[in-house]
Structures are given as C-alpha cells and as structure tokens.
C-alpha cells in the first residue's frame, strides 16, 4: 500500500489533514508532527517567561480558554439584540465597544465600529495591512481573511471578491469597504432578513453567520 503514493512526495503533508474537527474544519498538524523550529521557539519562550515569573501556566491556560470561548456566537448575540431593540441598535452604531461591553463582551482598548447594512448599502471589512479583526466578538480570523488575495483585492474590486464568496450584489447596492487598523476595527451589522417578524432574539441570533458580520455573506433566512 505505501507504494501507491511513491510518486507523490507531498502526500505526507496531507496526512494530518484528512480528519475534520467538530467545527467542520481540518485539523492543523500538531503534537504528532515532527517538531518544527518555531514550535521549539514557542516552548522555549514560554518556559523562560514562566521560570522568570513573567507569566504563569494558569494565566496562559485561562487566556486560551477565553480565546476558545470567543466565537461568532458573541457577535451574533449583539446583532440579534440590535435587530430587536432599537435603542440598543442606536447605542451600537454610536459606540460598538460600549454597546458590546453592555452585553458582557469586553472589547478592551480597541475602538470598535459597527457599520449597518441596509436595502441600499452593503458593508465589508478587511485589514489590508495585516489581520486586524473584531476577534472579541468573532473569535480568531479565518485563514482567508489573512491572505494576500483578500487583503489586496477587497479594497479594489470588492464586488468580484464577494462574488467569489457566492455573494452577487445588484449594481444598485452601494458597496462600502472598511479597512481596519490595529486600534480601530469594524463589524458589519447585517440587515435583518425578511420573514423574521416575531422571532425571538435567540432564534434570530442563530441566523447570523460569521461571514455576514464580515460582509462576505448574508444572514441565513428562516
């Protein structure tokens, strides 16, 4: 059997990517992969910081736990509240950091700006310089958000980029692209889908996808 793949030098690279995680994404190679230079550096840095008393293993574990707990569900809860509570929506559009904090989502020192999609306007966010992202509300950015293709082209030909995500907007829709910085980040407040009148905040939140808050998608419809 091993000979089946003798002419594919890179097959071993794929070995660790066969399984899918519970979230539906491939696992990234980790503990069973030959040790890399950068992994060695991570271990060494972490151990030196712990030994010298700059950080504790418990702090690192808690930080990872907090990071894992942040998911697009946080952002979806904020969006669903804005859809059902006009006063909250006003506060969100005026100061998204403060409005998010109101719901228990700490944004830290960043300025977070919510941009609203309407019948005529569609917003999309990007970070052309690096990978700035509303991670406190959406979790860590997806790989494609950090690619050269997305960073370069979204500000120049957003309609084409959105079409590559399967989002074809009519010419009558104005597209606004927001370029984030380390200190100032955006989140899209998608338009509430038609046919959702009378739905609970919780049911509405289930319609709000991550990509609808980046602007590369729309909320689901019931």
């Amino acid at each position: 059997m091993p000979h089946d793949h003798h002419d594919h030098d890179h097959d071993h690279d794929d070995f660790h990517h066969h399984g899918m995680s519970p979230s539906g994404h491939p696992y990234r190679a980790d503990n069973d992969e030959p040790l890399s230079y950068w992994q060695v550096m991570e271990i060494a840095v972490r151990e030196l910081l712990i030994e010298k008393g700059h950080v504790t293993p418990a702090e690192i574990a808690a930080q990872i736990e907090a990071m894992d707990a942040r998911s697009p569900a946080n952002g979806a809860a904020v969006v669903a509240r804005a859809w059902t509570d006009p006063a909250f929506k006003q506060r969100l559009l005026a100061d998204a950091s403060a409005a998010s904090a109101e719901m228990g989502f700490d944004i830290g020192g960043l300025r977070l700006i919510a941009v609203e999609n309407t019948g005529d306007v569609h917003n999309v966010i990007v970070c052309t310089l690096c990978s700035c992202y509303p991670r406190n509300l959406l979790g860590l950015p997806p790989d494609w958000y950090k690619t050269r293709a997305y960073r370069s082209r979204t500000v120049r030909e957003p309609r084409k980029v959105l079409a590559e995500f399967g989002l074809d907007l009519p010419d009558t829709t104005q597209v606004r692209v927001h370029d984030s910085t380390a200190d100032m980040r955006y989140i899209v407040l998608p338009a509430r889908p038609a046919g959702t009148e009378g739905m609970s905040e919780e049911d509405l939140a289930a319609l709000v996808t991550r990509d609808s808050m980046i602007g590369t998608g729309l909320p689901k419809t019931p």
Partner: protein, 115 residues
Amino acid sequence: MSEKTPFDGRRWHDMGGQDAGPVTPDEHDFALWEKRVDALQVLMSTKGHFTVDGLRRALEDMGEDAYEKYSYYERWVAAVNQNLIEAGLYTLEELGQRMDEVRARGDTYGEAASE
C-alpha cells in the same frame, strides 16, 4: 505580487489594491502551539512588555519572503520573541540554550513540550 515594479512608496505588507489571485475560503482550527503563541502575545502585551506596534514592526521587518514562507503563527512567535528580548525579559543566549534543551527532549511537539 512578486513582479518588481518601480518603487511606489509602499512596503511589502501594504497590500491594499494590489493584484492578486482569487480568494480561496480556506480555514482550519488552530493547533495548541499556535494558541499558546496567541496567548503569550496577548498576555505579555497586556502586561506592558511590548505594544501591538512593536509586534507589527517586527512582523513587517521580516520582509515579504517570510510572509510567503512561514505560517501566521510562525511569524508571530518570531515577532513576540524579538519584542521580549528587546524588553530584556531574557537574553538571546538563554533562548538559544533553552531551544537546544527543548530539541533534545524528543522529535514531536508532544514530547518536547513536556519536561
């Protein structure tokens, strides 16, 4: 865009508006070592040992080659490390010696990460 064009005042990381291929919507879950790099970045900058600007300076100074060659968290661990050394939290010698010790523990992350 690897093709050389006349200098337009941009550095390599300033990618907005450049030509590039199609967006392929790849994603993956992060490995433990990557999450640890992220956690160290957040914790050590929150404690005031460096700023996000310091992190970005180190990332941008690595150049385009590093961007193409290394993964996101590979570049991040290098940038975090550089800032911590600059902040005087440990020395290059200590780092080198510890990396040798880590390597000697085994051939996988699992083996090397547990003393």
